[in-house]
Amino acid sequence: MADTRVYAALLRAGMAGQATYRASFAVELVGTAMGMGLDFVEIFAVFHQVPSIAGLSFVEVVLVFAIASTGFATADLLVGQSDAVIRHVRDGTFDVVLLRPLSVLGQLAAADVQLRRLGRVSVSLLLLVVVLVQLDLDWTPARAAMAVLAPIAATVVFGALFVAAGGIAFWVVDATEVTSALTYGSAYLAQWPTGVLTPVLARFFTFVIPAAFTGYLPALALLGKPDPTGLPDWLPWASPLAAVAAAVAAWLVWRSGVRHYVGAGG
């Protein structure tokens, strides 16, 4: 569609705005990669004390971490600033977005793309490859497909969380911190086996906020391991479907948010 060329142009414009501060950009790249190191240190430190968590070994948990981290970082790169909506509304620069013959979300995403997240994206991907090689898995065509789809599904799920948070921001202006807590909390949780949580919470972060589908469940599929909490064996393979469902739900929340803005007069 010709529109993609337009979004590419907008993307370039957004990036041009960011790259003007090149020195600090390099620092930010390193900074986000180091932030990821922090989470890794936590995993390392815990496994320095115990051999397994919720039935998974150190390398296996790193697999979970790598998939989830790749997904989160990519989503953050693309739509991480969708709750910057509030900033636009306050500055009065949101109306302009409505005046253009383009989708609102597409414009915001293109304009606010967070290039500095590239640091974390690349390190996560690298880690993912290293872990997959290290694990010496029993490769089948299905597992190979899952290895490719899992990070994509993770990206979609986290993207859905960001977009939904943005949509909610239209309704409740001060909700940003609460939605951030849930989004970033889900990202934190997604790096660990969901089984660490109590059953109620584990189900919540599987079926309400599909955090489990961003790392833990795809990892189970790849490892060929059953879920200790008793979830069905086919569920991990449904990760892409969960991602689609999350995307649809987020889109509806976003649309209702924009409608609310137009209806209330901003």
């Binding site: 383009l102 209806g263 007069g265």
Partner: protein, 337 residues
């Protein structure tokens, strides 16, 4: 009227507004616990149309509802009730399609990319509207020439003066040759030179391309140059429609032409298009109320005598509106009696 009424009805109106209203609910905390609800009727049942190729001035004082109307026309705001169609489309529902057919200039807000050079904004907009390269270049060149924006095409928008920025905004709005151009207080805060340049450009543009224009302002000279018709709005309601001179006449407020002559002259009581108000300094300075075009009156006066200087005093929009109300009230009370 050059066009018979039924022809206009057959043609599709570019802008159709019927009984349009927009209410805002304002909540205020009274004391510690209670909250008071107040309904602000920003726009309260207005109706008017703008035909293809027309230029209509939408005047009113600050807070009269002009900007709210424009927001509803562009799809940024949903009406509380009533019907609005622009270029045959519903603004909110068909926002993106509408955005391709109209151009908007907001006096208070910018549609350009703040950190990038002006030329880059035009390039982006050309891409957004999928304009072929030659067409975009041709449009740009025309605007560069008429609005003299060439010198600052490479300056980041945030470094431009208000006058320069507004010229850029108008160029941007017209880049894709829209059917309808909406301008919301485009001349606010501009110096006289920029105002004139803008007005001249819009007049020339209209003459050449027949673009329909709807212009809101509380500055009457904006209208004088461009509009066929005016719609006056106050308190969210239309209080008058008609021509500008008709407006002044209706309101009974005069535009006053003050002429300073090189030598005292006889009172200029019979200059066509004027009405003598007063004479000062033995005929050296005379005040004439304009009943027609100012240019014609000046020409007529200079035909009779030599002018040294002249000023034109515009009626204040608030005065005009206030007088319209008083007249309307007077008419109402007299009919009641």
């Amino acid at each position: 009227m050059s066009e018979p009424g039924n022809t206009r009805r057959e043609q599709e109106m570019t802008v159709e507004i019927e009984d349009l209203s927009r209410h805002f609910v304002v909540r205020r905390s009274v004391g510690r616990l209670r909250r008071e609800k107040r309904v602000v009727r920003a726009v309260d049942g207005i109706s008017f149309t703008v035909g293809k190729g027309e230029c209509v001035g939408y005047i009113g004082a600050n807070g009269a509802g002009k900007s709210t109307t424009i927001k509803m026309l562009t799809g940024i705001l949903v009406p509380t009730s009533g019907r609005v169609r622009v270029c045959g489309l519903e603004p909110v529902r068909q926002r993106r399609e509408l955005a391709r057919r109209i151009g908007v200039v907001f006096g208070q807000r910018s549609q350009l990319w703040w950190d990038l050079p002006l030329a880059e904004s035009f390039r982006l907009l050309a891409a957004i509207h999928r304009l072929p390269a030659e067409r975009a270049a041709a449009r740009l060149e025309r605007c560069v020439e008429l609005l003299d924006i060439g010198p600052f095409l490479d300056t980041p928008v945030r470094q431009l003066s208000l006058g320069q920025r507004m010229r850029g905004e108008v160029t941007a709005a017209l880049l894709h040759s829209p059917e309808l151009l909406l301008l919301d207080e485009p001349t606010v805060g501009l110096d006289i030179v920029s105002k004139e340049a803008l007005r001249a450009f819009l007049a020339a543009e209209r003459a050449e391309t027949g673009t329909t224009i709807l212009l809101t302002t509380h500055d009457l000279p904006d209208i004088e140059r461009l509009s066929d018709r005016v719609v006056v709005v106050d308190g969210g309601r239309v209080v008058h429609t008609g021509t500008l001179s008709g407006l002044a006449a209706e309101a009974g407020v005069d535009r006053v032409l003050t002429v300073e002559l090189t030598a005292p002259a006889e009172p200029l009581g019979d200059v066509p298009g004027t009405r003598l108000l007063s004479v000062e300094a033995g005929g050296l300075r005379q005040h004439l109320a304009l009943t027609g075009s100012a240019a014609a009156a000046v020409a007529a006066v200079s035909a009779r005598t030599e002018l040294r200087d002249l000023t034109i005093a515009e009626p204040d929009i608030e005065d005009v509106v206030a007088r319209l109300y008083r007249r309307a009230a007077a008419t109402r009370s007299s009919t009641v009696d």
